[in-house]
């Protein structure tokens, strides 16, 4: 059953394909990395010092671009109602959706971080830290995304609200993820992973409750 759900979600969210999600988040991420050197000037040292943080901010914003397509269409079309009638709880659906969302943006984002690092003249060591940090942090970003999508799914003007909701939730991941670049040990990455795990554990329940509330409302 989880396999069937995951297959459907992946078809709906993966970039490319007729009905698939757009490749926009990825292009958005690369565009930031490309434009940043033009904005601050070609000072290699400055770029190398700030580049990791820019990659992190770009990754965070790229992760929230597809939020309005995550939950709201299914809620509108009554998909959750039909799933509940089949005894599949919202928590499972949200957990599967979170996995599909992560798979649809994170692996590509990690790949895109390679050209981005070249554009920002990051050295190999920083690149390694950024990649490990993103690997630890993106599940948390996916969890935040699914939670916010579920919370705002039943609302008018939900897109504007999701931007506001995201900022406080994403700040801890950003602090430790980007902060890991300025520390030689792996403590920052470990803390990022810890926050990610908490968010991933919380998201199915928060998202499920939000969808139930939207249905009863």
């Amino acid at each position: 059953m989880i396999g069937i759900l995951l297959k459907r979600d992946l078809v709906a969210l993966m970039p490319g394909g007729k009905q698939g999600g757009s490749i926009l988040p990825l292009l958005f991420f690369l565009a930031v990395a490309m434009l940043y050197p033009f904005a601050v000037g070609p000072d290699a040292q400055l770029l190398a010092r700030t580049g990791g943080g820019v990659i992190w901010v770009a990754a965070l914003l790229a992760a929230i671009l597809p939020l309005d397509r995550l939950i709201a269409p299914d809620l509108e079309q009554g998909v959750f109602d039909q799933l509940v009638l089949r005894g599949i709880s919202e928590e499972i659906v949200v957990a599967v959706r979170m996995m599909a969302h992560w798979l649809s943006f994170a692996p590509l984002l990690l790949l895109a971080a390679l050209p981005a690092a070249a554009l920002l003249s990051l050295d190999a060591e920083s690149l390694r830290t950024v990649l490990l940090g993103l690997l630890a942090g993106t599940p948390g970003l996916a969890a935040i995304g699914v939670m916010i999508a579920a919370l705002t799914a039943g609302l008018r003007g939900g897109a504007a609200l999701s931007g506001l909701l995201l900022i406080p939730l994403a700040v801890p991941i950003l602090i430790f993820g980007a902060g890991s670049l300025s520390r030689p040990d792996g403590a920052g990455i470990a803390l990022t992973a810890a926050i990610s795990l908490v968010l991933v554990a919380m998201a199915p329940f928060a998202g499920g409750a939000a969808i139930r509330a939207a249905r009863e409302g």
Partner: protein
Amino acid sequence: MQAYHLTASDLACRRGERLLFRGLCLTLRSGDALHVAGANGIGKTSLLRILAGLLRPFAGTTTHDGSVGLIDERTALNPQIALGKALEFWGDLDGCSDQRMNCQLMGIDELIDIPVRYLSTGQKKRAAFARLLNQGTNIWLLDEPLNGLDSEGRAKVDALIRLHCGGGGICVVASHTPIDLPSGQALDLTEFAV
């Protein structure tokens, strides 16, 4: 034959600040069909959603024995993908083996390559019935099942309900238009309105 039942006792439903109905009791057994009638906005859809367990009643309890299937105004079929693929998702989830046959039965087997968003209201309704047949549930809750259907489609739905109830199933139909049900039971929600 296994016996199913669907009961509700002393149900009340509130939407927002308004109490829609109260004191509603019903008992349905295998083979029963019930027509829920009443004006627009009287709470027919809410009653079906309460019976399906999707909405909490303001007061009262419901019990059912048997699996529940629901058709309402939303098809739960992804509008972006082909009808066949959209139905296949639900069919796979329900472990249905003869999805093709149910499409033929509802007269939509010619449409399976067409994206759901291009289908007409009646065609979508037929697709929803194909989904319900694939599900193979014992208790049918149908919210305005005749909306958008042509006369041939209506006759088909009539026959399906007869077959379902004849086979020991339960069917509750909410509709503001008259519908010819096998056992002829009717419930007028106006009597329970506040």
